[in-house]
Each structure stands twice: as C-alpha cells, then as structure tokens.
C-alpha cells in the first residue's frame, strides 16, 4: 500500500481518466437528432464505419447515470483522502519535538532490552548448572 499522498494523487489522476472516459461514452453512444427540418440522418451502408454507435435511449440514460455516479464516488473518495491526511494538526516544530522524545524513549527501551537479555543469559547459565548437577547424581 502506498502512502496517502500518493493514493490521493492517484485518485486525482483516476478522476481525470474518468472525465475522458465519460466524454468518450457521450461522444460514441449519443443519439442522432436533426437540428432543422432540412437535416436528415444519412443511411449508412453496412460496410461503412459507423461514426456513432447509438444506444437505445434507456440504456444510454442508464450509462450516463452510472458514469455520473462513479464521478461523484471518486470525488468523495478524494475528499475522504484529504480529510485523512496524517498529522494535519501538527506543525514542523511539534514534529521535531515528537521525534526527539521518541528518540530518547527508544534509547531507554533499548537499554532495558539489553538488561533483560543479560538477565536471561544469567538465568540460562544457572539453569544449565542445575541440570549438570542433576546429571552428576
């Protein structure tokens, strides 16, 4: 998983791609309408490449609705990502202070860890000794 900023940037890019995809859908599948009384829709021969692949009105409407819904969803996703950007409430000084504190705590924790390991080794040695004693007898 990438960090949130990258996710946000990707979401913005995806939104842009969706824009283009929507245009493609509209441009490709719209219905043909005469503008004036003199216009008429030419009858194409079967072998001719069709400029527009008209869909039935209800399918076209449904497609538009779906695309619009996707756009809104992506927009909401972007806004959610913006809201969840980490550490909006911290400024640089706060961050540096937190880092210093954490560094100190890390040092203490490391010392404790080493101490515990030492203790463990001592107990191990003791245990070993006891086992040897048992064996001897």
């Amino acid at each position: 998983m990438t960090d949130r900023l990258t996710q946000l940037q990707e979401a913005v890019d995806q939104l842009t791609n969706q824009f283009i995809a929507c245009f493609y859908f509209l441009e490709r599948h719209h219905d043909l309408e005469p503008f004036g009384p003199s216009d008429k829709i030419p009858d194409l021969k079967p072998e001719q490449q069709k400029e527009v692949d008209s869909l039935p009105p209800e399918v076209f409407q449904a497609g538009m609705l779906e695309l619009a819904r996707d756009l809104i969803l992506k927009e909401q996703q972007i806004e959610l990502l913006i809201s969840s950007l980490p550490g909006l409430e911290n400024n640089e000084q706060d961050q540096l202070k937190m880092m210093r504190d954490l560094e100190e705590e890390l040092k203490v924790a490391e010392a404790q860890r080493l101490e515990a390991i030492k203790e463990k080794e001592e107990v191990l040695a003791k245990l070993d000794q006891v086992l040897r004693m048992i064996r001897r007898y």
Binding site: L5, F23, E79, G87, N91, E92, R113, V123, V130
Partner: protein, 246 residues
C-alpha cells in the same frame, strides 16, 4: 596540476588511464589520510565525517574530492541540478496559482487550511467538468478554455499535494519510530516473562532436590543393581536431551 598529454601518439586500443593515476601512491594516500586525521582532530570531528580537507599540498590535490559548486548548481548528463532540492513553484512553472498564496500553513504552521483548499479545488474540478460537458454540448469550439481551466486546477492540486510531502515524510518517520519502540518494549516484556518462568522452575527444583540427595545415602545394597540400571537409563536420556538442545 593537470599534466599536458602528449599529442601525435597512436591511438591505443584501450584508453589511457586518467592522467592523475600516478598521484595515488601508497605514500601519498598515507600522507593524505594523515592530513585528514589532523584536520578532523583540529575541528573536533570524526574522521569518517570529513569529506574534504580544504587545503592540501598541490601534489595531493587529486586525492581530495572537489569542493561544492559555489553557486549551488552543476550539470550532470546535460541536466541542470542544484544543491537545494526544491519543489519548483507554480509561478516559476508559469501556472496560475489558485487559492491563497504561501504554503497553506497558518500562524502556528498548521495545515488545516491546506486540506480545505484541496477540497475546494476538488469541488471546483468537478464543477468545471460539468460546465465543460455543457459547453461541449452547445458549442464545442469554446471547450478549449474550459479544458485549460481544468488543467490549471489539476496542476494546482498536484502541486499542493507535493508541497505536503516533506510534512508527510516527517509524520511517517514518527510513526516508524513509535512502531520500533513498541516492538522493543514487547520484546523486553517477553524476555522478562521467560526469565520469571525459568526462575520459578529453578526455585521449584531447589525445593525437591535435597530429600533426593539424602535418599541416595540410605539406599540399601539389595536395590543397588536396580539403581545402577536406572542411572544408566537416566544418563542415556540426558545424552539424548543434550544432543537435541545443543
């Protein structure tokens, strides 16, 4: 101290080594290292941190890395690079800045505004797209201006996100440190637990060992052979255990 190369020679199959290769004699390297050490001691630094000794004798100049460029800029593979790795500002890239100028931080250096501005940009992006579809439906020749608007908004969004990156990097570092602290503490706790358990076992062993020790003295002769057999088996068992845990 560049040495002028002799002209008019036949071109060899392989190129000559760089003309400064003769400077790297063991004595010179040793002298340079001594200089470096002296410089580090003088400045109170660790030798490993010294990248360059400012003043060296002329015959050692090839052992010293070159100084940083004075104006902070250099070229690499035909590309202009600078020492300060800065994000190019929108104005410098010739793009109109939308919303408030500055880095979006308020007096405390907080970034609440930045999220708000990003949201505003995202909303106007969608609105502009809606307008674009309308314009394209009515008069496609006028669509270009709207497309340019959308482009400006998108570039602004990306720029704002990138401005936020240093902040995010620090934030992630904090998170990482916190995680490593937690894991260290957990490890310590586990070790302590194991030690406690082992200690308890030891005290338990100590309490039962003594009566057995006395029993050994009072064992009767008739049971001796039986005990020998038992002991033999026990020692075999111990050998096996040792083998497995060694």
């Amino acid at each position: 101290m560049p040495v002028s190369r002799e002209e008019g020679k036949l071109t060899p199959l392989y190129p000559d080594p760089p003309y400064f290769w003769k400077a790297h004699t063991p004595e010179n390297i040793e002298r340079y290292n001594a200089l470096k050490q002296a410089y580090a001691d003088d400045k109170g630094l660790d030798v490993a941190d010294v990248a360059r000794v400012p003043e060296v004798p002329e015959d050692l100049c090839y052992l010293n890395p070159p100084a940083e460029p004075a104006d902070g800029k250099w070229r690499l593979f035909g590309q202009q690079l600078s020492l300060e790795d800065e994000l190019q500002s929108l104005e410098a890239a010739g793009i109109e800045r939308l919303g408030t100028a500055g880095d979006g931080a308020d007096a405390d250096g907080r970034h609440v505004d930045r999220a708000l501005e990003l949201k505003r940009l995202a909303k106007s992006l969608l609105l502009n797209y809606l307008e674009l579809t309308r314009v394209m439906g009515n008069n496609p020749s006028q669509g270009e201006a709207k497309v340019l608007d959308i482009k400006t908004i998108l570039l602004n969004m990306h720029h704002r996100i990138n401005e936020y990156r240093p902040h995010q990097a620090r934030e992630q570092l904090i998170q990482l440190m916190q995680e490593s602290l937690d894991s260290k503490r957990a490890e310590t706790a586990t070790i302590r637990n194991a030690v406690d358990k082992a200690n308890r076992v030891l005290t338990g062993l100590a309490s039962i060992e003594i009566p057995e020790f006395e029993k050994k003295e009072t064992v009767s002769e008739s049971a001796k052979t039986q005990r020998d057999l038992l002991e033999k088996r026990l020692s075999e068992l111990w050998d096996q255990i040792d083998e497995r845990f060694s």
